[in-house]
């Protein structure tokens, strides 16, 4: 994360009190940077030189080559020295070598842009969806995304889960669920239900993952309905923002300017949730599902600013 310049600790050089920054006795002696003077608390000049030397070697060589325990180093000092090494590298870089191809920018866009926001295919699609994104992440009305595990959610798996599972069976059986609220569930719930409909050729069952989020989507073109299981979404405050699900007819979001509204929902508990996909109009053949964060009540046309999940139908 980018640091707030106002909050940064300035390691300083001439004015620093290294003892006060955790560079007191010990530490460097075992790393080969200590000596008798280092142990003298009054010899701040020598201590400072020792600390600077350790940081400089880590900056140019890396911690292992330098043989330095970086936990003793001021990260700001280290960052400044690394930048200095970068500037020196630019200043002293060797000349020669092959010239850059004329279409270098286009080639790099083709080869590196898909990895700008993650390596996963889904994230590439999400980056396409986010074409209009402009607002800084910190300004999003995004609910906090808590990292959790399905395992943790299984603790205490009891009557409520059985009821949710029963509800899933009933709802999936008719594919008519129109509830706007998500239900706590586990991925096993969805798989069990999906298996129950395994004989229906029109029902697809597609696992997906984007970053910390994982899930599965069950969808029927014939019934124009389905469910999306999502594990990793944070609990939202419906007074501030709500999640909204979108259904794309193809698998290229950029080619689909008007995805079908799949309903607004809230996440009220940590753990996996199952969201009924409430298609407002006939989709036809769904190819991709996305979840955005929108103002309370949802929107008719999403600005695609805050995409939190993308699931491609397999």
């Amino acid at each position: 994360m980018r640091r707030d310049p106002k909050d940064r600790r300035d390691p300083g050089f001439g004015n620093s009190n290294f003892e006060g920054q955790g560079y007191g006795e010990g530490g460097y002696a075992e790393n080969g940077f200590g000596n008798a003077a280092y142990r003298d608390p009054n010899d701040s000049e020598r201590v400072r030189a020792e600390v600077e030397t350790a940081a400089a070697l880590v900056a140019v060589e890396g911690a292992s080559s330098a043989g330095v325990d970086t936990s003793h180093l001021d990260p700001v000092l280290l960052q400044r020295f690394e930048s200095a090494a970068g500037a020196l590298f630019s200043a002293m870089r060797p000349v020669g070598g092959p010239g850059a191809p004329g279409d270098l920018v286009e080639r790099l866009i083709a080869t590196t842009e898909p990895r700008a926001f993650g390596d996963a295919t889904f994230e590439r699609r999400a980056s396409s969806l986010a074409l209009a994104a402009r607002r800084p992440q910190t300004e999003r009305p995004t609910p906090a995304r808590a990292a959790r595990s399905v395992r943790a959610n299984l603790v205490g798996f009891g009557g409520w889960a059985a009821a949710a599972l029963l509800g899933l069976y009933v709802a999936l059986g008719s594919f008519g669920g129109t509830s706007a609220s998500s239900e706590p569930a586990t991925v096993e719930d969805v798989r069990t239900v999906a298996d129950a409909f395994g004989l229906r050729p029109d029902v697809s069952h597609s696992p997906w993952s984007v970053g910390d989020l994982t899930g599965e989507v069950v969808w029927s073109d014939a019934d124009n309905a389905g469910y999306m299981y999502i594990d990793g979404l944070g609990v939202n405050d419906p007074e501030v923002a709500q999640y909204q699900l979108w259904i794309f007819r193809g698998q290229d979001p950029a080619a689909e300017p008007h995805p079908v509204d799949g309903g607004v929902f809230d996440v009220t508990t940590d753990g996996g949730v199952v969201v009924p996909i409430d298609a407002k109009i006939a989709v036809g053949s769904a190819g991709l599902f996305a979840v955005t964060v929108e103002e309370p009540g949802g929107v008719v046309v999403s600005e695609r600013e805050s995409i939190v999940a993308v699931a491609v139908r397999s």
Binding site: A49, A56, L57, A84, A87, L88, R93, P98, A100, A130
Partner: protein, 190 residues
């Protein structure tokens, strides 16, 4: 631009590439005479830039220096893996690299690289050689001591002083550009 990349703005990727790809190519081109090899490492550098964009702090360095820092790591990693060292041209010739490239002229890298150049230009003899072997060739301080016969403590001192002096200049430069008060820096430490 790097802030926009960190925020997930796909258009920022093109902007960064348009502005810095020639610079990164220039930094990586010393690795090999094979353009495919160079392009390979340039790709790695930019993927690393995308992943690291959220850590960019304008108070520390310009975007160009931030990218050059990543480029340096990648180039040296490649060189170490390949087990080879560059055979750099004489320093005097290196001080004007890429000046004929119009794309490089527009980059604010010159601002901070020039600060570094001024520091290097004042170095003589062993100090300059040690810094070059360390920063450009990526040799460890022990390797430098073994190769040159310069005592290990002196090698470490040269590296520290060189980085500290450039750091001082960069910090003063960033303070001016960010409108901060320039405070005394490294007074009496070198």
């Amino acid at each position: 631009m790097l802030v926009r990349v960190a925020e997930g703005d796909p258009t920022a990727v093109r902007d960064v590439l348009s502005r810095y790809s020639a610079l990164v190519w220039s930094l990586a081109s010393g690795l090999s005479n094979d353009p495919h090899d160079v392009e390979d490492v340039v790709q790695d550098i930019f993927v690393d830039v995308w992943r690291s964009a959220g850590r960019y702090d304008p108070a520390v360095a310009s975007e160009a220096t931030f990218i050059a820092t990543i480029a340096r790591r990648r180039v040296i990693d490649r060189r170490r893996r390949a087990g080879r060292r560059l055979d750099p041209e004489p320093l005097e010739e290196e001080f004007a690299p890429g000046e004929s490239d119009d794309r490089l002229r527009q980059i604010d890298l010159h601002d901070e690289a020039n600060q570094a150049r001024e520091v290097v230009a004042q170095l003589t003899g062993d100090r300059r050689k040690v810094l070059e072997l360390s920063v450009v060739d990526g040799l460890t301080h022990r390797e430098i001591a073994a190769d040159t016969g310069i005592p290990l403590g002196t090698v470490k001192s040269h590296i520290r002083r060189g980085l500290a002096e450039v750091t001082e200049r960069l910090r003063a430069r960033r303070s001016i550009q960010l409108g901060e008060d320039e405070s005394p820096f490294m007074e009496g430490s070198l």
